[in-house]
């Protein structure tokens, strides 16, 4: 199965942002947009949900901190209790630095690996860019054309005021605007 998509290319982020708002107002389905840099406000204009990766970060961080605190307690007070300069075996203040570092380490790695996982980014992944210039200086809006209501001429007229550079129809594998 394959999908017909419409690629609209723009030169400036403002044009893309305005076009996204206009297209959504008209009720068309936006599959994705491709930009050379993070365009602020694009996620909101496209109606993307805020990322839940913050929770991954929080959970990994807490796991690191609590896990390490427990391990330090176990090592210092249970497994082999060594009297170091008369300090209490389970000396909480001296356990904080290592627990903190472990929290940061796990939270950082956890959120990055979660990011790579959710975005399906991995070494050796084959990308056939829709347009080579999206990683250089072009902004591409990808619209779903499978809808029966969809009229390419109407959409073109709608996008024209936003300094549309190019409009291209393309057939891609199902779900495959990657």
């Amino acid at each position: 199965m394959s999908d017909r998509v419409l690629l609209a290319t723009f030169e400036h982020e403002e044009d893309l942002l305005d076009a996204v708002r206009e297209v959504r107002r008209a009720g068309h389905k936006i599959l994705d947009a491709f930009t050379p840099y993070a365009v602020h406000g694009l996620d909101r204009a496209m109606g993307l949900r805020p990322s839940r990766l913050t929770w991954v970060c929080f959970i990994c961080g807490m796991t690191g901190a609590l896990g390490m605190l427990w391990f330090e307690y176990w090592v210092g007070a249970l497994a082999w209790a060594v009297d170091v300069g008369g300090k209490p075996w389970n000396s909480l203040p001296s356990n904080v630095p290592v627990a903190f570092e472990t929290a940061v380490l796990l939270a950082g790695f956890g959120s990055v690996f979660a990011l790579l996982g959710v975005c399906r980014l991995f070494p050796g992944k084959q990308v056939r860019p829709l347009l080579e210039r999206v990683t250089d200086d072009r902004f591409v809006l990808v619209l779903d054309q499978t809808d029966a209501q969809f009229s390419a001429t109407q959409v073109e007229a709608m996008l024209r005021p936003f300094n549309l550079l190019e409009l291209e129809e393309r057939v891609v594998a199902a779900g495959g605007v990657e």
């Binding site: 050379p36 204009a45 805020p50 391990f71 170091v84 472990t102 990683t135």
Partner: protein
């Protein structure tokens, strides 16, 4: 809207220019200057490798240490390099949280500098062990000795965790920031092998808005994590000293004093490298005099904190009524190592005062010279803290002198060799400016007023 803010990138650049200008140094053959610098740096690296091999084979008796001065050159170099490594994360994380957009031009190279400096730093404690093949003893792993675990109450062990976490998180931060730029290189490269390597390293990045949205979230999280991390790491380094009962070390001022000093020295190194790099790689429109001025302001403020700390230490020593503490500070300023102390004060406190003047902050040659002075001064700061506190301890009968041997000096030269070799390779094979970030802070083209009025504030 944008007219109120000064232009960050000059020369009227558009995104395609950014890609072309930043990729240009990677796509042409290296210049004679690059080869000259590379040969010099790798020679120093080889000298260092020989020196380290020799001292490991012979034992650290090849150093100038004695029973009184048990820490000297090696730990000085360690603290010096860790300090250098602090500016990268400051620029990439702290300034990110403060929405300082000028950071985009310098963050990539500052982060690379951080990584390399932390690697240089990490080598010194391992060499200092004398038996580096046993370095794995620092890790808490189940063993046949009991299991005998590491001592979690020791700042030296906190340091192991602090430095290794800092190295790993800086590496991840740097790599995540590189992803979009690696994709740019993949898509524009003509050479098939470069395309292939960049393709593998870019993990299939395609610039999708959904990916960007999550990426921005994670970047913010990493910045939020790296900010307390950068402060914690040098605080922990300072506790290596502060928890010892040596007069001159045993002070509560050490954590903030060390952090400020670390950022100070790191900024100086960033300035040194950037002033050379912008010229040799024709990046004057990206790293402008404005960027240099901003870094000078930061460096000046850090230098003033460091100067205040020097003064506070003296005041507290006088105020404490502790004769040992008072003696250590008088000995620093007037004793046999007073030359090192006054080098430190002049380089770190007096010379940077020139940066109060806009004329000097915007004069590249002056800034370059000041940054070199600060680099030297900050090395001497660590030397003064370590050696002058140790060499005349409680009992005059055990007082000793210290002078580095040629092996120790060769090791220091070798660490500079490692640093510059790696940095030159970075400049050759990676985009030295974060293209995807700089493109986002370019001046926006003027638009028709009709569209401006109907569009709300997107940010």
């Amino acid at each position: 809207m944008a007219t109120l803010r000064p232009t960050l990138i000059t020369g009227g650049k558009v995104p395609a220019d950014v890609t072309r200008d930043v990729c240009a140094p990677m796509e042409r053959s290296p210049t004679a200057l690059w080869w000259g610098a590379f040969l010099l740096a790798s020679t120093a690296l080889i000298v260092g490798v020989v020196a380290v091999t020799y001292q490991i084979a012979m034992g650290i008796g090849t150093w100038g240490l004695n029973r009184t001065v048990g820490w000297a050159f090696d730990i000085t170099n360690f603290v010096f390099w860790v300090g250098i490594g602090h500016a990268g994360t400051l620029i990439s994380a702290v300034l990110f949280l403060f929405r300082q957009k000028w950071r985009t031009s310098v963050n990539r190279s500052a982060e690379a500098m951080t990584l390399i400096a932390v690697v240089c730093a990490g080598l010194f404690p391992v060499i200092h062990m004398g038996r580096p093949w046993l370095a794995f003893w620092m890790a808490p792993y189940p063993n046949t000795r009991g299991s005998l675990w590491v001592n979690f109450k020791s700042p030296l062990l906190w340091d192991v965790f602090g430095i290794s976490t800092y190295l790993l998180i800086s590496a991840v931060f740097w790599y995540v920031g590189l992803l979009p730029d690696l994709a740019t290189i993949r898509d524009r490269s003509k050479s098939p092998w470069r395309r292939r390597v960049a393709g593998i390293l870019s993990l299939g990045w395609n610039g999708s808005a959904r990916t960007w949205s999550r990426y921005e979230t994670v970047y913010m999280l990493l910045a939020g994590l790296a900010t307390p991390l950068v402060f914690s790491v040098h605080s922990i380094v300072s506790m290596d000293f502060a928890t010892a009962v040596i007069p001159g070390w045993h002070t509560t001022i050490f954590p903030p004093y060390f952090v400020a000093g670390a950022i100070f020295s790191g900024l100086a190194m960033v300035l040194t490298l950037m002033i050379i790099g912008r010229k040799t790689m024709q990046l004057e429109n990206y790293i402008t005099v404005g960027h240099i001025e901003s870094m000078c302001k930061l460096m000046l403020s850090m230098g003033c904190i460091v100067g205040l700390a020097y003064g506070t230490e003296f005041f507290i020593a006088a105020f404490s009524g502790n004769p040992y503490e008072q003696f250590v500070f008088l000995n620093r300023a007037l004793g046999p190592f007073s030359w090192a102390y006054w080098t430190m004060v002049s380089c770190n406190v007096l010379v940077p005062q020139l940066l109060w003047f806009r004329f000097f902050r915007r004069n590249i040659a002056v800034v370059f010279v000041i940054s070199i002075f600060v680099n030297i001064g900050m090395w001497f700061e660590r030397f003064v803290i370590i050696v002058t506190s140790l060499h005349r301890d409680f009992l005059p009968s055990s007082w000793a002198d210290y002078a580095p041997t040629s092996i120790e000096i060769a090791t220091l030269a070798g660490s500079f060799g490692l640093f510059f070799t790696c940095f030159l390779l970075f400049c050759r094979f990676f985009p030295v400016i974060a293209m995807a970030e700089v493109k986002g802070v370019l001046e926006k083209p003027r638009r028709a007023p009709k569209q401006d009025s109907e569009q709300g504030d997107a940010a």
